[in-house]
């Protein structure tokens, strides 16, 4: 079980996340929603151990992840928000490097890479440099890098960004399959429909604070609305329709 216990993160005394607590059990796919600046990325970075919380702890199987970060990361698959990769390495070279750094045996690594590249339709491009890849191809490289060592915990930060329809569908089914296999999945996204479809539970953040946390079904039932309406109801102070009209008015102004 992955647990965030009273997590707080401040940047030069400005709070990014405050007193955030939740738990992620085996088989659970927890969606994390929130507008820009709500603390999603900070939360993800603390969960991956890239940032140390100012207060509170992240526990995995009852142990603070900071106590043995390497052991935790061995069991973690992470897809970051932006696909920052080394453009002069080929897709194969990059994945081989990640696999080696994860300590995978070279024989297994080669076989797994071949199969995954084939399944993600990257096999014909595996020896071309990443600099020539499209955004979707880079995203697929990141997905392969996250799953290839069969970790127990997955943290996906906007994983569908740039993916084509087929790859996105494959990925959504993959996330559900991972949940069924008993893996722990933390899924950050702006795309509410996907969270609604893929996640079992949802966590809604606003200004670094949890404002709602429950199963997707329950959250909808409480307000008797869809997840999108619930989200807007909870998070946004602005009247989106009015803002859209105001934009059109500015466009039309002489």
């Amino acid at each position: 079980m992955l647990e965030a216990v009273h997590l707080t993160k401040r940047y030069a005394s400005l709070p990014a996340v405050q007193d955030l607590s939740f738990s992620l059990r085996s088989g659970m796919v927890l969606g994390c929603l929130g507008p820009n600046g709500s603390g999603k990325s900070t939360t993800v970075k603390m969960l991956t151990g890239l940032l140390e919380p100012t207060r509170g702890v992240v526990q995995f199987d009852g142990h603070n992840i900071q106590d043995n970060l390497q052991a935790y990361r061995k069991r973690l698959g992470y897809v970051p928000e932006e696909a920052h990769l080394y453009p002069y390495l080929t897709g194969w070279e990059y994945l081989e490097m990640v696999g080696t750094l994860r300590g995978m045996a070279s024989h297994t690594l080669g076989i797994k890479l071949d199969s995954l590249l084939e399944l993600f339709s990257l096999h014909p491009h595996r020896h071309a440099s990443i600099g020539t890849y499209s955004k979707g191809m880079r995203q697929r490289v990141l997905l392969i890098a996250a799953i290839m060592d069969n970790p127990d915990v997955f943290i996906f930060d906007e994983p569908l960004s740039g993916l084509d329809v087929a790859s996105a569908l494959i990925f959504k089914n993959l996330v559900q399959a991972l949940g069924q296999q008993g893996k722990l999945v933390f899924y950050c996204s702006h795309v509410l429909e996907v969270v609604e479809k893929v996640c079992s539970d949802v966590l809604i953040l606003r200004k670094g604070v949890v404002i709602a946390q429950d199963s997707v079904a329950n959250i909808g039932q409480i307000l008797g609305q869809s997840l999108e309406s619930t989200f807007l109801h909870l998070v946004d102070d602005v009247d989106t329709r009015n803002v859209a009209h105001a934009i059109v008015e500015v466009m039309n102004a002489a």
Binding site: Y86, L89, S129, S134
Partner: protein
């Protein structure tokens, strides 16, 4: 009164810079300084002010250093009072000409990728209601503006300081004014020539080659240009003397060095040129004119062929053949690389060295310097030798592998600090254990696998052939041992995966480090071969090097042992040492 003149200019400039064309020129100027390229690279962004300052520094420094040569007091102390300052200044003027050409050419090579508009420009500008012709002219104006700016900036300090230093003994202002004018025009023209030469080469390659071939060849061409520029700089020690001493027709190689044309031009404007120099001076101005025409023509064709066709090129299939893997390399890899850290990072470091253009350029520059110094040593070795045997055992010949290994080791140590794609280093931050101290070992393996094969593959067989097995073995052993010791020294407290950490902050001890490198070079590449040359005839003398080696091994070993754990931690960000640390008790 002044405001009457400046106000209309300011008004015109304010109006012009808000026009689409003016905005685009500004955009291109900023882009050329800050870097281009299609990748989302996070290159070294030094800022326009700092770049201009750095470019201007060498000329200023060299001018100040020349005070020693032209100072009247020092001349009096040397007993050389009746000197002709114009004659005396010829070698220095030549040096300033090659310096301005090297710095300007180097700057153009450094910004090679950013001179032409790229895909990012295409995606941002072409959808706007601006014709591609306007984009073409805006970029051209930006390039020409920068060529002029760099030419003036590189030579600004030397144009004032150098004539002041040379004219220190002269009482007439006219001498100073004439010297400034001729020198300034000469060096600025040389700078412009150098910039245009690189620019036209880039345009020519883009005009002639298909996009993919251009991308592949461009790195090699840049390397060749860098080697040429380093060679040009090194000619400053010998060429002026040869030019002045030649009485008849000049040797044909002078045609290959435009620096000779510009020196002749300055001499002929001062009325000091021999008929041969006057002939050579006639090449300078037509040379610049011809190069300008070629540069503009090639730029126009290259622009049309590449920029306008960017969408077609972007659509090309992203496939590449499987690279060949050598079994020997794989075997050696298994033998040398033990841990997952080393197995993962070693290929990364090598691939970065081979594929990152910035790193390749720096290494090529250092390699070019190595080639020049080695060939000079080789020439010196044969100059006074009566036989091949004597030449091979001379300190000069023996110094060649020392020079090369020194430059490789120091060069690699420098390039390890240059970051590449910093935003991509998250994968190392995520995967690596900061407490495992393997960075030194990794860097040592990279350095030694670069330096030692050179020694084993060239030096050993060459000396076996020339001197026999014993000398070859001793010499190779010494070079290899010295390489290992030097590597240990330069990697003291090294705690980063090469290329993944931010640039080091300039520290006060950087100048001390620079002096240490110069001292190291003298000890490593000059004194050791001198000692070795005498010791090879009597091998027992070699024992004298054992204490030196022991000290060189002991010091880094001891320093490493005394390093506290927190200073061994893997880092991804260089931070300045703070005098006062805030405790942040409120957090």
């Amino acid at each position: 009164m002044i405001s009457l003149l400046t106000d209309p200019i300011r008004h015109w400039w304010g109006y012009y810079r808000q026009r689409p064309f003016g905005r685009m020129v500004q955009l291109f100027v900023a882009r050329i300084f800050r870097g281009g390229g299609d990748s989302d690279t996070e290159g070294i962004d030094l800022g326009i002010g700092l770049v201009l300052t750095l470019l201007a520094l060498p000329g200023g420094f060299v001018s100040i250093l020349l005070l020693d040569k032209y100072g009247t007091l020092l001349q009096w102390m040397r007993g050389t009072l009746n000197v002709d300052p114009l004659l005396m200044s010829v070698p220095d003027e030549y040096f300033f000409i090659v310096l301005s050409m090297t710095v300007t050419g180097g700057a153009a090579v450094w910004r090679w990728d950013a001179i032409f508009p790229d895909r990012r420009d295409y995606m941002n500008l072409v959808p706007l209601p601006i014709s591609t012709r306007t984009i073409f002219f805006a970029n051209l104006v930006a390039v020409l503006f920068l060529a002029g700016l760099i030419a003036l900036d590189v030579n600004a300090a030397s144009c004032i300081l150098f004539p002041m230093v040379v004219g220190a003994t002269q009482t007439k202002f006219l001498f100073f004014a004439k010297f400034v004018a001729v020198h300034a025009v000469g060096v600025v023209l040389a700078s412009v020539f150098s910039f245009l030469a690189v620019f036209s080469m880039l345009g020519l390659l883009m005009a002639l080659l298909p996009a993919r071939a251009f991308r592949r060849l461009s790195a090699y061409i840049r390397g060749i240009v860098v080697v040429y520029l380093v060679t040009l700089l090194c000619t400053s020690f010998a060429v002026p003397d040869k030019l002045l001493r030649t009485t008849g027709a000049l040797p044909s190689w002078t045609l290959l060095f435009p620096s000779c044309w510009f020196l002749s031009l300055c001499q002929s404007w001062r009325g000091r040129a021999s008929p041969a120099l006057t002939e050579l001076a006639r090449l300078a101005l037509p040379g610049i004119a011809a190069l300008t025409v070629v540069a503009l023509g090639c730029y126009a064709i290259g622009y049309h062929r590449h920029f306008v066709r960017i969408p077609e090129l972007a659509e090309a299939a992203v496939t590449a053949p499987k690279p060949r893997r050598s079994r020997v390399g794989a075997f050696l890899g298994r033998l040398v690389l033990r841990t997952p850290f080393q197995k993962g990072c070693f290929p990364f470091v090598w691939r970065t060295l081979v594929r990152s253009e910035m790193h390749r350029l720096v290494l090529t520059g250092i390699g070019g310097l190595g080639l020049v110094l080695s060939s000079q040593a080789l020439m010196n070795a044969f100059a006074g030798a009566k036989s091949l045997h004597q030449a091979a055992l001379s300190p000069d010949a023996l110094s060649i592998p020392f020079i090369l290994t020194f430059l490789i080791i120091i060069g690699l140590r420098i390039v390890f600090e240059i970051p590449v794609e910093l935003r991509s280093n998250w994968i190392f931050q995520l995967m690596l254990d900061p407490d495992r101290q393997e960075c030194q070992s990794l860097a040592r393996k990279v350095v030694l696998t670069s330096a030692l094969p050179l020694v084993l593959a060239i030096t050993f067989p060459a000396h076996v052939y020339l001197e026999g097995l014993r000398v070859a073995f001793l010499h190779t052993l010494l070079v290899a041992t010295w390489s290992v010791l030097l590597t240990n020294i330069v990697l003291i407290r090294f705690r980063k995966v090469p290329f993944t950490c931010t640039l080091p902050i300039f520290k006060q001890h950087s100048i001390v480090l620079l002096l240490a490198v110069c001292f190291g070079y003298l000890t490593y590449a000059i004194s050791t071969p001198e000692f070795e040359s005498s010791a090879l005839t009597e091998p027992l003398r070699m024992i004298g090097l054992v204490p030196v080696a022991a000290v060189a091994w002991f010091i880094p070993h001891r320093l490493d042992k005394n390093t506290i754990d927190i200073e061994r931690k893997l880092i991804f960000e260089e931070s300045a040492t703070r005098t006062i640390e805030a405790l942040r008790l409120s957090d």
